[in-house]
Symmetry: C2
Subunit: 212 residues, 2 copies
């Protein structure tokens, strides 16, 4: 298996985390985004939208991190940690909360990561108006998460699944910013973050960055 991506790309990190959870060997093929490697061949033959990561498993070629992870979790169900349910109804709840991550959490979290973590790294100026607006929305999302996590150990059910995993890269970045206080003020969310951020598979993703 090959992952074509970038160590600092949150979408690539999602796939690395999944592969480590499943204890699968893979080759990391770095794409140099600073020189536009994701916008030209050979990468755009793997993803015509020019976004990392892309993935190969033998002759199967995929892109979109969440679709890649669903494939890995199903195709290698017997390996490593289970990240999905075989029960149809339990899996439907997981699918619902995977959509919540993609449509409710990720748009605001990605925007806050850009303003509060990436822009300062690149020497660009953070837009305080955007931060205020997105932080308010993130607070509303975390209110729903707090109610959910008061009833369910993980967002998708009683077990850690792809739902929780897909949140990891954004949460890791946001924990180093001023919006950490939003997580801190939601006790069940805070405990959930501490739990999932400490998973050995996620620590391996962080080690990939540190060793580079």
């Amino acid at each position: 298996m090959k992952v074509h991506g970038a160590l600092l790309s949150t979408a690539s990190q999602r796939v690395f985390a999944c592969l480590y959870e499943k204890e699968l060997d893979f080759e990391f093929v770095p794409i140099d985004m600073r020189t536009g490697g994701h916008k030209k061949e050979p990468f755009i033959s793997l993803n015509p939208f020019g976004q990392v990561p892309a993935f190969e498993d033998g002759d199967l070629k995929l892109f979109e991190s969440r679709a890649i992870n669903l494939y890995i979790a199903h195709a290698y169900a017997e390996k490593g940690n289970q990240l999905i349910y075989s029960d149809g109804k339990k899996m439907a709840i997981v699918s619902t909360w995977m959509e919540v991550e993609a449509h409710q959490f990720d748009p605001v979290a990605s925007s806050l990561c850009w303003e509060l973590a990436i822009k300062p790294m690149l020497g660009m100026t953070t837009d305080a108006t955007v931060v205020d607006e997105k932080a308010a929305k993130l607070g509303q999302v975390l209110d729903v998460y707090e109610a959910r996590l008061a009833q369910s150990k993980y967002l998708g059910g009683d077990d850690f699944t792809l739902v929780d995993l897909h949140h990891l890269p954004n949460i890791q970045l946001l924990m180093g910013t001023q919006v950490k206080k939003l997580f801190d003020s939601h006790p069940h969310v805070n405990a959930w973050c501490a739990d999932i951020l400490a998973r050995p598979a996620w620590l391996k993703v962080l080690a990939m960055q540190a060793n580079n």
Copy 2:
């Protein structure tokens, strides 16, 4: 099965189309969005994010249209038209293009629907700058679709699947606006639109609106 939603909501229409494709009986529970019915009880107990549709199948309660449709397609695989593949690799390609619809097509298409179809209906003024920006992005997405559909009859593979179905509500609205020309100028995209818009299940969704 019950669908709590609104006839003019594109997300609700996605679920209706899926249920008609699968030839399943369901009860439509209208939510009056003009009076904020989606933001208060009993609806927000079904979807704490306050967005239509929500779905019930016996004691299973779901929200997020794409997750609902995945559940229906899997749980009722033997009914009506097949909308997914049982083969894992073929289904992984379907998952990839379902993510493309959700992350590449829907954000620009929804924005154009709002500016060009919904705002005029509500007597609001269309923002030409937003239209220009989003139309340019839609053109880029359709360029990728054109290349894909030159090689594959449908976006997810040789067969009509949830991928194509999920595009229907936005495409239906956009065909009545100035951006129809973007579809017209991509011949494979145009043929694909004509094909999927003519499906009996989709015509039943349009009839639901017309009969109301």
